[in-house]
Symmetry: C2
Subunit: 249 residues, 2 copies
């Protein structure tokens, strides 16, 4: 399984994903589930994936082909099903989410028949967030069907994969006016709860932070299993939780 969470607060966006994949409990591997594309100061995009790994990777490959080719909307329209416009040329974030959805549908169409024959689900679910210069930061969840929903004031975070363990902490502490640093901490603690309670989610983690109106990731790093800062945060949270638990009546 997987756990990925994207948070949108006034000060910016936070993205966090794990790296564990499994095909059965006895077939565990490590794959990156976070992908970033950036023209610093102009546009920053972060994509996280959950679900069928083959589909996720094929979607990311298609998106990267479009970006590398610098395909315009017009050129993509002429090429039909075989090409996608570059995410970095999309006129807005909603169009970017649509392009991810189009890639999702195209990939599944290719394998629909054989997936159906094997009675296998080939879908992936993705979180896409970012900002384009002149636009606002936006955060989307793209469904296997290719359509999407967007985070709003009422729901400032989106989760994919094993979302239940890490939801209570987010439900309690995240609002739109939560400072970016606190949102970052909440994402890490939400992941920490999930890591402790579900073996199918595993270290290392990938973290990205995008402060509002900078169009430049202020942080993009891998948190390894022996990361001291994460370990300290986790231990402090554990101790603080226990204190809180024993302290209340």
């Amino acid at each position: 399984m997987t756990y990925c969470v994207g948070l949108m607060v006034d000060q910016g966006l936070v993205f966090l994903s794990d790296t564990r994949t499994n095909a059965g409990i006895d077939n565990i591997a490590r794959f990156r589930k976070m992908f970033t594309w950036e023209v610093p100061g102009e546009r920053s995009l972060v994509l996280m994936t959950a679900g069928n790994l083959a589909t996720s990777q094929a979607v990311v490959s298609m998106l990267e082909e479009g970006i590398e080719a610098g395909t315009s909307e017009e050129a993509a329209a002429m090429l039909g099903d075989n090409a996608l416009p570059s995410l970095l040329k999309a006129p807005n974030m909603f169009r970017s989410a649509e392009i991810v959805g189009e890639a999702m549908v195209a990939v599944q169409k290719r394998f629909r028949k054989s997936l159906d024959q094997m009675n296998e689900a080939g879908g992936s679910t993705m979180i896409l967030g970012g900002q384009r210069k002149g636009g606002t930061p936006r955060l989307f969840l793209v469904y296997p069907e290719g359509n999407c929903i967007e985070a709003t004031e009422d729901t400032p975070f989106l989760q994919i994969g094993e979302h239940k363990y890490g939801k209570p902490i987010l439900d309690r502490v995240i609002a739109r006016d939560t400072p970016l640093e606190e949102a970052r901490k909440a994402a890490l603690l939400s992941m920490d709860s999930t890591l402790r309670s579900n073996l199918s989610v595993g270290m290392p983690l990938d973290l990205a932070v995008l402060p509002t109106d900078t169009c430049t990731l202020s942080e993009r790093r891998r948190i390894e299993a022996d990361d001291e800062d994460f370990h300290t945060l986790s231990e402090n949270w554990s101790a603080a939780l226990k204190d809180a638990f024993h302290g209340i009546l």
Copy 2:
């Protein structure tokens, strides 16, 4: 859905269940999921159910028939599939769990054909715990297939239904030497996290507490939606969590 949790610590057993059932999100009802049978000082049993409500209720009815008739093991054996021995005459807790499993299998057998035809799952999952005078307190999870697992030193709690939201707190604070009063608090907070994050779990709650070697429930009550103690605990926990969150680095 449902959330039920049973905890086994050295000082005793704690049981907590919600009461919400739903057949689709637009068909929500309130049903008791906790059942207790007791001969104070001699034997106390608590059963909690999750899954197909028709199956759960039929199983409970069968068990109650056996108890009311005071059916012995020998009589039940002679009656065959039509009768179960009384839970209150079982020689030990393991046999009690077996009897629950036998009821589960018998009920599903009756409806197997029509359930298969409708492609419906008819299974329930149950938690049974208690103590018989002269025995030790034990806690079992009975599967839809009728077999069961038992809580041990390594895993002092069992959950059925929507178990994920409320697991992180239990993973952190519950051990065999946790005092009974703290275990009771942990069960309530585990439920509180689930109630906040998942609409399919709802108030009121049913709570039962069985101190070790008393064979008498020290507490057996319904916690209504307007229960002041639960409300205060919930608010205090929320505040303590937020303080803990903001306090750590």
